[in-house]
């Protein structure tokens, strides 16, 4: 998978998560639009119409990078009103947002990005955490450009919120896109959605794909890899001095087993990522019919404390 493909997938799963949260705040008033990669020679804030309300949320753990949700003044005001259960904003002609309106928009961004972080976590296989939202009101392009340091990659996802055009700009460092590309490659062609026709790269297209729906993809499961097993009399175990060698039943050139919540679900090869961490490259997914009786030994249960 190319880096641009990975960026588009990142943008799509984020867009879907965001649209889902926005829809709860303003039912029937949200449309998710096109997702595109912003060319490297353009600052992502260059084409943003002024004045603009921009709220940024950074990833603080798991990955690095930033997200800026940019709205028109009317869009932000209408969203805030919808979140407060009002048909119309209190003061539709005010030159700026009220403190409460700005707070509502920040909170929307907080919840949108928390939901997006789940989608990213499920692709990367690590927990992704977000920082607190930082709202900004820009009346000049130069100020908006100064406010966010450019990154090597950037993705733009368009939305219509309460009739107003809005966009999410994802500022993506190199390390993030490399990990995303690798993770998507490792998830394999089997789980990837079929190639999408150009111009239809909307968030709806990724529904049911690796990004999944937040309701299911957010459930934490225990995943562990097993190198091998053996049986021995208890007396032998307690009598074992340090330095003794325990032989396991698995040959060194055989694939190892991967378990999810106690069920053997795949076999794969042990590998090292980032030069330090163990990882498993999946070779085969075990079909559900032959998950039991495969081994002569019981499936190891995970310690309660984990």
């Amino acid at each position: 998978m190319s880096q641009d493909d990975a960026l588009i997938r990142l943008g799509q799963s984020t867009s879907e998560a965001i649209a889902g949260v926005l829809e709860m705040f303003a039912p029937g008033k949200i449309t998710a639009g096109e997702v595109s990669v912003i060319p490297g020679d353009k600052h992502p804030m260059e084409s943003v119409p002024m004045p603009a309300v921009a709220t940024s949320v950074a990833y603080v753990d798991g990955v690095t990078g930033g997200n800026v949700f940019v709205m028109t003044l009317d869009g932000a005001r209408n969203l805030a009103a919808a979140m407060m259960g009002m048909e119309q904003p209190e003061d539709p002609d005010a030159p700026e947002l009220s403190e409460l309106e700005l707070s509502a928009v920040s909170e929307a961004m907080n919840q949108m990005m928390a939901s997006a972080a789940i989608a990213i976590s499920s692709v990367l296989g690590t927990e992704v955490e977000i920082g607190t939202p930082e709202p900004n009101f820009f009346t000049e392009q130069a100020a908006a450009i100064d406010a966010y340091a450019p990154t090597p990659h950037a993705v733009r996802a368009n939305f219509t919120v309460c009739g107003e055009p809005c966009r999410l700009i994802q500022l993506v460092p190199n390390a993030f896109v490399v990990r995303m590309t690798r993770a998507l490659d490792e998830l394999g062609a089997e789980m990837a959605p079929p190639a999408e026709p150009a111009g239809q790269a909307g968030p709806a297209a990724v529904r049911g794909s690796v990004a999944g729906r937040p309701s299911l993809s957010g459930i934490p499961v225990r995943v562990w890899a097993e190198l091998g097993r053996t049986r021995m009399p208890s007396a032998q175990v307690v009598g074992m001095p340090s330095g003794s060698v325990v032989e396991l039943n698995q040959a060194a050139d055989e694939p190892i087993d991967l378990y999810v919540n106690g069920t053997r679900f795949a076999t794969g090869r042990l590998m090292v990522v980032d030069g330090t961490d163990w990882a498993v490259r999946i070779e085969t997914i075990v079909s559900s019919s032959n998950t039991s009786h495969e081994s002569q030994l019981e499936v190891a249960s995970w310690p309660e404390s984990w």
């Binding site: 949260v21 709860m24 705040f25 805030a80 979140m83 407060m84 403190e99 409460l100 707070s103 509502a104 920040s106 909170e107 907080n110 919840q111 928390a114 939901s115 972080a117 789940i118 976590s121 927990e127 955490e129 977000i130 920082g131 607190t132 937040p214 957010g218 459930i219 934490p220």
Partner: protein, 119 residues
């Protein structure tokens, strides 16, 4: 009917939670916008229940929860967190939180959590 302290860094969320509680017949005795303020208000106001946001500047909800439970092991704290913070929710329950409410939430869910915490 309970005396409740509402903690969230977003003024909007404090308003939403306070409105829901007031409509449900509870009394919002105070509000706080970060963990440090939350601990001070908790000691000063001695609320029967408090709602506590997790992601906040200065001192987050988990750190505040820990100190509050140390101050008063019987404190009734309900965590409010955005979707996707399951590990923090679990941690907060281990630390002694009574319940959690996932944002975006319905007013009924907040009232239900308060009712359960008061037992």
């Amino acid at each position: 009917m309970a005396r409740v302290l509402v903690v969230d860094d977003a003024a909007f969320m404090r308003k939403m939670v306070s409105d829901a509680l007031t409509k449900g017949g509870h009394e919002v005795v105070g509000e706080a916008g970060n963990g440090t303020e939350a601990i001070a208000r908790f000691q000063e106001l001695k609320p029967e229940v408090m709602t506590l946001d997790i992601t906040m500047p200065e001192k987050d909800g988990l750190a505040a929860l820990k100190e509050i439970i140390e101050l008063d092991p019987s404190a009734k704290v309900i965590m409010c967190s955005a979707l996707g913070q399951e590990s923090k929710v679990l941690e907060s329950i281990k630390l002694g939180a009574k319940d959690f409410v996932v944002k975006p939430f319905q007013a009924d869910r907040v009232l239900e959590a308060i009712g359960k915490a008061l037992g």
